[in-house]
């Protein structure tokens, strides 16, 4: 009995570790397969021989199939633009909802929350009409515009701001600080983990967004990488897994690398911000 009891925690840890490794392996499997096919000739797509010759041809082929350099630039500009606008707009709105009392506040906040319930795809035609009336079809701003005032971002930041102790707020006010100063010196620094977490969600979402950019843009100068990637999904001619996987790795590479570099911060900020 005694020996058994002493042995339990170890067994428990071992079981946890094994399960964790197994899940991690399952999760990483598609990625590992993508890497395998991308660095080997097409003949080894389904044959796993350790001595298979290595090659970078697939990447070269994928790179040549579409103007990816320009697409990358567009995507980076797009996600940066969206992120900056979202941070500014959501911060101001969230601050107002969290700390000011004004008529219609709860009604307005309900409207913001309603945005979370509407699938963005339903709004495609209406958004298109608006963008067209503004004369912005086929611009990078047009891809981002519908996402600037993010209901999710406002909600998340408002919750964070409300959890910041009143005492800090009041102490700063006693010092005679302006509202913007208050926001800048007290609220934003304390909400950093939330910004980081929300930033990651926003960047990865807009990096991967496909349908709306495809519809609203017409030229190489405005299109993001996902549109370039879709050229490989040609079912009629049979799918070339090696090239398609090379292209996928290429387009998701920057995000993957960023995640691996900032992994610890991301995980911690997610824990603190309460998004899971």
């Amino acid at each position: 009995m005694r020996a058994g009891r002493a042995g339990w925690p170890d067994f428990d840890t071992a079981l946890n570790t094994v399960a964790m490794c197994l899940l991690a392996f399952l999760w990483a499997l598609p990625l590992l397969y993508a890497i395998w096919t991308a660095i080997h000739p097409a003949a080894y797509e389904t044959r796993f021989v350790l001595t298979a010759p290595l090659t970078l041809d697939n990447f070269a082929k994928a790179w040549a199939a579409a103007p990816f350099a320009r697409y990358f630039l567009n995507t980076v500009m797009l996600v940066t633009l969206i992120l900056i606008c979202q941070f500014v707009l959501c911060t101001l709105a969230a601050f107002a909802f969290a700390r000011f009392r004004f008529p219609g506040r709860s009604l307005l906040f309900t409207l913001v929350l309603l945005q979370l319930l509407v699938m963005p795809d339903i709004l495609i035609v209406e958004n298109y009409k608006t963008i067209r009336a503004m004369g912005l079809v086929d611009t990078i701003i047009a891809i981002g515009l519908p996402y600037f005032a993010s209901g999710f971002g406002i909600f998340l930041l408002r919750q964070t701001f409300m959890s910041i102790p009143r005492e800090l707020d009041e102490a700063a006010r006693v010092e005679g600080i302006s509202f913007l100063g208050l926001l800048w010196r007290v609220y934003i620094p304390l909400a950093k983990p939330t910004y980081l977490a929300y930033g990651l969600v926003s960047v990865s979402h807009h990096w991967n967004n496909f349908l709306w950019p495809l519809i609203i843009t017409n030229s190489v100068e405005t299109r993001p990488v996902t549109v370039g990637l879709s050229i490989f999904s040609a079912v009629d001619a049979g799918i070339e897994w090696s090239v398609i996987n090379a292209a996928t790795l290429m387009t998701s590479g920057p995000l993957l690398i960023a995640f691996l570099l900032f992994q610890r911060q991301f995980v911690q900020s997610f824990m603190r911000a309460g998004i899971r």
């Binding site: 009336a133 009629d236 001619a237 049979g238 799918i239």
Partner: protein, 428 residues
């Protein structure tokens, strides 16, 4: 609010003025195209468009890659509903009824003024025009059109003592050949199947080959009546199911489209049914001698057509529509369509393309390219109705249910017919 509104109107007004200035010098056209056969097709369309614009300073055409067929129709419809349609787009021929229903396209008849134009409109293969005309009007001009054919592995045929130059000519022969071609390892696992008829995603298309061979048409030309529960359709589905079940010459379950050419190259199947759009791919990648033949016959020969047509959109100026018409006329002309066919494997849509020197040189070097053309004589329109997405989904679900064994062919098809009737009754 007032200020914003005034600002808006000013913006629109200036946009309209800009538009007018532009049309005064050259006609601006937007042309959406999908790609279903890999990156090379996009380059070819771009090159052809550039060539046309270079020779016709009066037209400024912008070719816009719009994703897959599905994404292209979504993009074009969104733009049309948003009030800024492309003037021209290549969209699946089966989407004709949807586009008419949405009232976004115009028939070509009104734009064909001279006798030459009219002659041009009747210069295409009738099999392709079946999907392009309704109610006596022509709404689509065939461009990237295809039809399924049978590819077979000559080495495998030789290995089991079949004549490597003769593909199966009938359903019974396909089973008989298939049984010889199936190869099993010591444990009884199949290492090579006899035949592969892909059924993922849109099983109705290849299945339509079987129904046509069994002498039955799935939908009428008005697009409001289907015959899914016809006994001949049931019989065709029974044959497809039996290929995996009773005869054991095809892998059971749903068979992937995308993986089919690969399975053929790797010798996992000795024959495959797939689109002519694959011809160039197979030619470049098959590590053995292969043959291309018509689909086997039963009561008759038969195959569906497939692929995309040119459509001209409604909400554009008469000058733009005329310029779009001229461009379509040019790009479907023999020399241009020969280039297109050679680059992609799509079937050139009119007989005189095959008479050009370029095309003759190509077919002399690579005779299998002729098979699809010869099969056109027996081809019928791809299944297309009003509410096409919904009706084909119903039909696809029924086919998949029968293929996976969830329902018997007769039950699945009877249900599909009921659902299709419910969807289509408003259009009768």
């Amino acid at each position: 609010m007032g200020v914003i509104k005034r600002f808006d109107t000013a913006l629109i007004a200036s946009a309209v003025m800009l538009g007018q200035i532009a049309t005064a010098s050259a006609v601006d056209l937007e042309f959406y195209f999908p790609v279903a056969v890999g990156g090379k097709a996009a380059d070819t369309i771009q090159a052809l468009t550039d060539e046309y614009v270079g020779n016709n300073p009066g037209a400024d055409i912008k070719a816009v890659y719009a994703g897959s067929y599905q994404e292209t129709v979504t993009k074009a419809l969104t733009a049309a509903r948003g009030g800024k349609p492309p003037q021209l787009s290549v969209i699946l021929s089966v989407d004709m009824f949807t586009l008419i229903d949405e009232d976004v396209i115009i028939p070509f008849d009104g734009l064909a003024q001279t006798d030459e134009d009219k002659a041009w409109m009747s210069s295409f293969y009738p099999a392709f025009m079946e999907n392009s005309q309704t109610g006596g009007k022509t709404y689509g001009i065939p461009f990237q059109r295809s039809t399924p054919v049978l590819y077979w592995n000559k080495d495998a045929f030789k290995e089991v003592g079949l004549d490597p130059d003769t593909p199966p000519a009938t359903w019974d022969e396909m089973v008989e050949f298939g049984k010889k071609l199936v190869k099993k390892d010591a444990n009884g696992n199949v290492t090579r199947w006899g035949v592969r008829i892909p059924s993922s995603g849109f099983p109705y298309w290849l299945f339509q080959g079987l129904t046509t061979q069994n002498d039955v048409i799935l939908a009428n030309s008005d697009g409001n009546q289907t015959s899914f529960d016809d006994p001949r359709v049931v019989e065709a589905l029974q044959y497809l199911v039996d290929l995996s079940g009773k005869y054991g010459v095809m892998a059971p379950g749903i068979i992937e489209w995308g993986a089919t050419p690969k399975a053929f190259f790797e010798g996992q199947t000795a024959m495959m049914w797939t689109t002519t759009g694959n011809l160039t791919n197979v030619r470049e990648n098959a590590p053995f001698d292969f043959g291309v033949g018509m689909l086997p016959a039963h009561k008759r020969r038969g195959a569906p057509t497939g692929g995309g047509n040119f459509y001209i959109f409604k909400d554009s100026s008469p000058e733009q529509q005329q310029a779009a018409f001229d461009f379509v006329k040019w790009i479907t002309a023999p020399e241009q369509s020969a280039k297109w066919t050679i680059a992609t494997g799509y079937v050139a849509p009119r007989p005189d393309t095959w008479e050009t020197d370029t095309m003759k040189a190509y077919t002399a070097d690579f005779p299998p390219a002729l098979v699809a053309r010869d099969q056109l004589e027996f081809a019928v329109a791809e299944l297309s109705t009003y509410e096409n997405q919904r009706v084909t989904t119903v039909f696809n679900d029924a086919l998949e249910a029968a293929i996976t064994g969830a329902k018997t062919p007769a039950d699945a098809l009877a249900e599909a017919q009921q659902q299709a009737d419910a969807i289509l009754k408003d259009y009768r």
